[in-house]
């Protein structure tokens, strides 16, 4: 069989997923105060730089080396970009490497929404690199790399656990250790420019097709099913979120539409190539409603998860990973590289659900603990710590971390070149 059609789709998907990180930057960026806009963009764009390099040098090998060993970690088989270029398969290993690179980039980028407005940029640089090696690569190995979770029988089509629970758990650890933004929750910190957020949501939705349908690895029927499920879950979650918002707050908001869609995309991620029929609507709608309710928790529990990474990614990831235990459909499954398996509603009993629960909580536990250790270590070691000073927080990350401002629209120019 020719591979060109599959290559075309996975190349396209890689580009789409890479584009999600700028999308995420703007999705988040619109929600922060204007003085922190560039700080937010930078934390995300920088991940495209640093993680690409780390992934090529060692990260991919740690995640995908020793493939299918049922173990805890890969090896150095592909380190330093070795052995990726195999002409006979059209360089398939290199294709897998770069496609997975885009996942490695966006996963820690998700955390930036939680820690918005208060982390030193240099601390972020260290955290990003260490987290990718110590948390992302191992967890990716467990499932995507054929490690212990895959062997156990847990399913994760495109990263409900590897990406979303993982990043969400890290986000929770980070906001606890970093502490609240100055003034939160008394001071109002409304979004400075929601159109950015909507633009970002549009890019995310667009790119997520590559994320989920690309995870089939081929341009086959499973890819089509994953594509369909992705779109339908996003749609249903938008409606779910808006419905409850309208009931509770009296208005359907654009931020709600964007947030709901993202919640649905998160929840369908682990399920995309494994469910069929009306299932994506049910999973999406559940995610929309549950995530809306989950983000209200932070006010009760008093942790400043600034842009609701816990509420959307951790909770949404859990919703999807666990519901897969109910909705999995072996007719679709069978197309992929995985064993065909059914869920509770599809006559497969509770077996899959149990595996999903174990995988979800193991991911949560490892990521939370390890992220906390990294951050506490950095706090102890970095001369200026991990958080900006109060004065810097007042002035904003743009000026203090990057010596730039986002907007200079006025007519009044008074600036001197040194």
């Amino acid at each position: 069989m020719d591979y060109q059609g599959d290559h075309a789709w996975i190349l396209t998907s890689s580009a789409l997923v890479l584009f999600m990180t700028p999308g995420l930057a703007f999705f988040y960026g619109g929600m922060v105060r204007s003085k922190n806009m560039l700080g937010m963009l930078m934390q995300n764009f920088f991940s495209m730089g640093l993680i690409s390099v780390i992934w090529g040098v060692v990260g991919f090998s740690l995640a995908f080396g020793n493939f299918g060993d049922g173990g805890l970690l890969g090896d150095f088989e592909f380190a330093w970009m070795r052995d990726l270029f195999d002409p006979s398969s059209g360089a398939r290993p290199a294709l897998d490497m770069i496609y997975q690179a885009t996942f490695a980039i966006i996963t820690p980028a998700l955390i930036t929404g939680a820690i918005a407005d208060r982390m030193r940029f240099s601390a972020w640089v260290w955290f990003l690199g260490l987290w990718s090696i110590l948390v992302y690569s191992p967890v990716a190995h467990w499932v995507f790399g054929g490690g212990w979770m895959a062997k156990m029988g847990a399913l994760d089509f495109a990263g409900g656990a590897v990406v979303h629970i993982n990043a969400g758990a890290a986000a929770l650890a980070a906001v606890i250790i970093l502490g609240k933004r100055k003034g939160w929750p008394k001071t109002a910190m409304p979004p400075h420019m929601l159109p950015w957020t909507l633009l970002g949501a549009g890019i995310l939705w667009f790119g997520w097709f590559g994320f989920n349908a690309g995870s089939a690895g081929l341009a086959n029927g499973q890819a089509v099913q994953a594509f369909v499920n992705t779109n339908m879950a996003a749609a249903a979650a938008m409606l779910g979120w808006l419905a409850v918002e309208r009931l509770k707050d009296g208005h359907a908001t654009t931020l709600g539409a964007a947030s709901g869609a993202v919640a649905g995309l998160v929840a369908i991620t682990p399920c995309a190539g494994f469910v069929s029929g009306m299932s994506p609507f049910y999973i999406g709608a559940a995610a929309g409603v549950i995530c809306y309710l989950a983000i209200q928790l932070k006010f009760k529990l008093q942790y400043d998860d600034s842009l609701d990474v816990v509420g959307v990614h951790l909770v949404g990831g859990l919703v999807g990973s666990l519901l897969l235990g109910f909705f999995a459909d072996d007719v679709v499954n069978a197309l992929g590289q995985y064993a065909a398996v059914d869920g509770v509603f599809t006559g497969g009993g509770w077996g899959l659900f149990k595996d999903q629960a174990v995988a979800s909580f193991a991911t949560f536990g490892y990521s939370f603990a390890m992220s906390a250790i990294i951050l506490l270590g950095l706090k102890a070691v970095l001369p200026k710590g991990i958080r900006v000073t109060e004065d810097e927080e007042d002035q904003g990350l743009d000026l203090t971390q990057h010596a730039e401002v986002s907007y200079a629209l006025g007519d009044m120019g008074s600036m001197a070149r040194e």
Binding site: D249, G250, I295
Partner: protein
């Protein structure tokens, strides 16, 4: 010389400008401001958190006029800016001791 300062509703600016033109005022300076008063502000909601904003957008109009014209100008502005709804704003008059046209150095009424 007097400085007439008016705080008006933004969408009444064109009417005020026209009305000032009718009483012979040839220049003015305007700026965007926010007002607080009897007029209620609004509420915004973001992800379930509700915020109240008490300030409402207004426009400030400033006109320097000859002493004798002040009353007429106040009237022109007040007439044009009135909508009879709360929040129509205020006009006040303050004394100006001197005024100069930068381009020519002319002073007093010639500077207007």
């Amino acid at each position: 010389m007097k400085l007439v300062t008016a705080i008006i509703k933004p969408h009444k600016l064109d009417d005020v400008k026209a009305s000032l033109g009718e009483v012979g005022v040839a220049g003015m300076t305007v700026s965007e401001v926010r007002g607080f008063g009897r007029q209620r502000g609004h509420t915004e909601t973001y992800r379930g958190a509700e915020y109240t904003v008490d300030f409402v957008p207004k426009v400030r109009v400033e006109v320097v006029v000859d002493d004798g014209d002040a009353a007429k100008v106040v009237e022109a502005i007040a007439g044009a800016a009135r909508t009879d709804k709360i929040g129509d704003g205020k006009v006040w008059v303050t004394p100006v001791e001197s005024i100069t046209r930068i381009r020519t150095g002319e002073a007093g009424a010639d500077a207007l």
